[in-house]
């Protein structure tokens, strides 16, 4: 795919603190690219730099093969949707979408055509004569999106475009957004802190934390081969355990104090193995199983089911292992018969444990305990 947007080594400092620390990536023409990360990762600043509202301290941005670093926002050929948008309250829905086209010297006949097309795509045509205050939050959001789409810009920059909506509406609009962007052939950079949103929308996801892009890939790639603990943690429902290497040669990890919690892992990185100290073991909640097979690839424990919580069509079980010294979270679709209070066997495969250096624990924003 041809790169339509190129971003190279962007740095930005605010009062001496680095907000962006050398961000680089490329987005192909027509690609839906999602920048995903927690609050404070620098996502909005990055988007504002792409839009030309904020000037980077260092780095290069090019759109469609043209360097835009010294080009003002209105000449960059972008449609920008800020996190907190404003509609023109004295104008109708039609006016809100039509007016920016006129400002851009689009001829009136053409503007009318575009306006009609976009409003119909966004299911807003029958509300064209309404004023913003007559609309629900979801409708207003649609109008703002319609306005960004109508500019005809090839590159759309969307900052949390769905975050101000009711959960249900947000999911519905999410689906429309992607199909509209694709059908119009637009290139999109979409910023969000919502994993589900990213999964549904993105062709590729860039995971961002603390001013850096940690990893770029399709959701599946990120999930299968997370570069570090942060990516693994952010994209899935994780059990993150602080354990010790008890026996480096047989690759046994466990608690140094609780004799009953020991487990085998398949591979240990050389550099971690040498230390023989504390490490982080990461086990996806989906990789934990009740009544596991008894072959040697599995680590098996006696557990007490503390709670069974519902999650969509799935179940999340909170399991106490070792008399409660260790708590594991299990996610499953099948075990609908499991009830709180039961004693069960649980297990996970040695090959499903990922081991990280203990220093990576610091990259996790919300730690248990």
């Amino acid at each position: 795919m041809d790169s339509f947007l190129k971003v190279f080594d962007i740095w930005k400092f605010y009062s001496g603190r680095a907000i962006l620390k050398g961000v680089s990536f490329e987005v192909g023409k027509g690609e839906y690219f999602v920048v995903l990360g927690p609050t404070g990762a620098g996502k909005t600043t990055l988007l504002k730099i792409l839009a030309g509202i904020v000037h980077p301290d260092r780095g290069e941005v090019s759109i469609g093969g043209r360097s835009v670093i010294d080009v003002p926002p209105e000449e960059r050929g972008i449609g920008y949707f800020p996190q907190f948008f404003n509609l023109f309250n004295h104008m109708t829905v039609w006016g809100n979408v039509y007016f920016p086209l006129l400002v851009r010297d689009v001829d009136a006949f053409e503007a009318e055509k575009i306006c009609r097309e976009i409003l119909s795509l966004m299911h807003l045509l029958d509300r064209a004569d309404s004023y913003p205050y007559e609309l629900s939050g979801g409708m207003r959001q649609r109008v703002a999106l319609a306005r960004a789409l109508a500019t005809g810009a090839e590159l759309l920059l969307l900052d949390e475009p769905l975050s101000q909506l009711d959960a249900k509406l947000s999911v519905e609009l999410r689906r429309e957004l992607k199909s509209i962007a694709k059908s119009l052939g637009r290139t999109v950079v979409h910023v969000t802190n919502n994993v589900e949103e990213a999964v549904e929308l993105a062709d590729r996801i860039a995971v961002m934390n603390d001013g850096c892009i940690v990893q770029i890939g399709s959701y599946e790639e990120l999930r299968r081969k997370p570069r570090n603990l942060f990516v693994a943690y952010f994209l899935s429902d994780a059990n993150i355990l602080r354990v010790h290497i008890l026996d480096p040669y047989n690759r046994i990890l466990g608690s140094p104090t609780e004799n009953c919690f020991k487990f085998k892992v398949e591979t240990l990185r050389e550099d971690i193995l040498k230390d023989k100290g504390e490490v982080i073991a990461y086990i996806d909640a989906e990789d934990i199983k009740i009544d596991p097979p008894t072959d040697s690839g599995w680590n098996v424990f006696d557990a007490f089911v503390e709670e069974v919580l519902f999650h969509r069509g799935e179940y999340v079980c909170i399991l106490k292992v070792c008399g409660g010294a260790v708590k594991l979270r299990m996610k499953s679709m099948d075990e609908s018969w499991v009830e709180a209070g039961l004693r069960v066997k649980v297990g996970f495969k040695a090959s499903d444990v990922h081991v990280y250096d203990v220093s990576e624990y610091e990259s996790i924003p919300y730690r248990e305990g």
Binding site: G137, D166, A167, K168, E286, F310, H311, M333, P365
Partner: protein, 364 residues
């Protein structure tokens, strides 16, 4: 040990009817969520229980005692706001000890209570810092500690996780439930987010347009929705227009190209009438042989793997698009044909809504 009874409560704001004849019991020690779209009346109901708003009609009982004329501060409640209403000019610890102090405890006792409550909610940081220096999640834990400090046993939470980012929201919702359960509190939690409600509540109260539509455990709401609205609003559902058939004591959804036996039909439907079939994405199973009942041969139009789950777009016979989430390690390519089974009790059938389908499922 609080139990809450809401009896025949109505409330109007001018011409708008915010609540109309609402009846509800919240059992002692339970975690209850009020769930509904914006404007459904859930926050109004919470505020009436808190005593911030007087109902036009009806009454609220806490532990059997009428709350008529009793101000919020005398109801033994702790209220947690969406926008995290800590006093910004007070240190964390003073925010928590403020309640006891106002109730004329000695400073020493108030401080002791504050520290013990901060420990209970596991806020493990320097208590002499100010609210602006902590994250939103921690600030919410502090506001819960503040409620606990005045010995509130009834926690009223108004979109308590609304201001937090999604990952923090997941972490915090489990923490909230853990706190409520381990200290024997009763909690009423208002949210518009069905994932949030379903994953932490013992009982979910679904509201719409000032009325309670259905009350039940998360599992009941998910697998036994009494109305098309609940089927659609709570979780996800594929909505398909069909014709209802009735034979051998079972209802059958006739979609033209396919027929499915429906095991969940909460309202009777006449034979041959227009009806609506609702099927949750999680209801589908992949099978090898088409021997069983309710099995369809379908074409996969797109497939996406999310962890252990396959998210599929499939075409039912008659070119009807549906979404399915299936737990499978199999690799399924777009364009391939597979057999799927939808168990009878996972096929929901409803009469075609009088006001039209759009109106019935509109999330407003």
């Amino acid at each position: 040990m609080p139990r809450v009874d809401v009896v025949n409560v109505s409330k109007n704001f001018g011409a708008i009817q915010a609540l109309s004849r609402v009846n509800l019991t919240v059992d002692d020690g339970s975690y209850v969520c009020f769930l509904g779209p914006s404007g459904c009346g859930k926050t109004t109901l919470l505020r009436i229980i808190a005593g911030f708003i007087e109902p036009d009609e009806g009454d609220v009982y806490i532990d059997g005692k009428s709350m008529k004329g009793i101000p919020p501060e005398k109801r033994g409640i702790g209220f947690v706001f969406q926008d995290i209403a800590l006093f910004p000019h007070m240190r964390i610890v003073d925010n928590v000890s403020f309640g006891p102090e106002v109730r004329r405890w000695s400073y020493k006792d108030a401080l002791k209570a504050a520290l013990s409550c901060l420990e209970k909610v596991r806020v493990d940081l320097d208590h002499s810092i100010y609210p602006m220096e902590v994250s939103g999640g921690v600030a919410q834990l502090v506001s819960i500690a503040r409620a606990l400090a005045v010995k509130s046993k009834l926690l009223l939470l108004d979109e308590p996780l609304g201001a937090l980012d999604p990952k923090m929201r997941i972490y915090m919702k489990y923490r909230l439930r853990e706190i409520v359960k381990s200290f024997g509190l009763t909690a009423i939690h208002v949210t518009h987010d069905q994932d949030e409600a379903l994953s932490i509540a013992d009982k979910v109260v679904v509201m719409r347009r000032g009325k309670i539509i259905q009350t039940g455990s998360p599992k009941e709401l998910y697998w036994k929705p009494k109305s098309l609205f609940v089927a659609y609003f709570v979780g996800e559902a594929n909505i398909i227009e069909v014709v209802a058939r009735y034979s051998d004591g079972s209802y059958i959804a006739d979609g033209g190209g396919f027929k499915l036996v429906c095991g969940w039909v909460p309202n009777p439907i006449e034979e041959g009438r227009r009806a609506v079939l609702a099927v949750r994405p999680e209801a589908f199973r992949i099978i090898d042989q088409p021997m069983e009942k309710n099995t369809l041969r379908v074409e996969v139009s797109s497939a996406k793997r999310i962890g252990r789950l396959l998210h599929l777009d499939i075409l039912l016979p008659g070119s009807i698009h549906v979404k399915a989430k299936i737990k499978s390690d199999a690799n399924i390519e777009p364009g391939s044909k597979i057999y799927v089974k939808i168990p009878e009790d996972r096929c929901f059938l409803y009469p075609y809504p009088k006001e039209g389908l759009e109106e019935e499922i509109s999330p407003v």
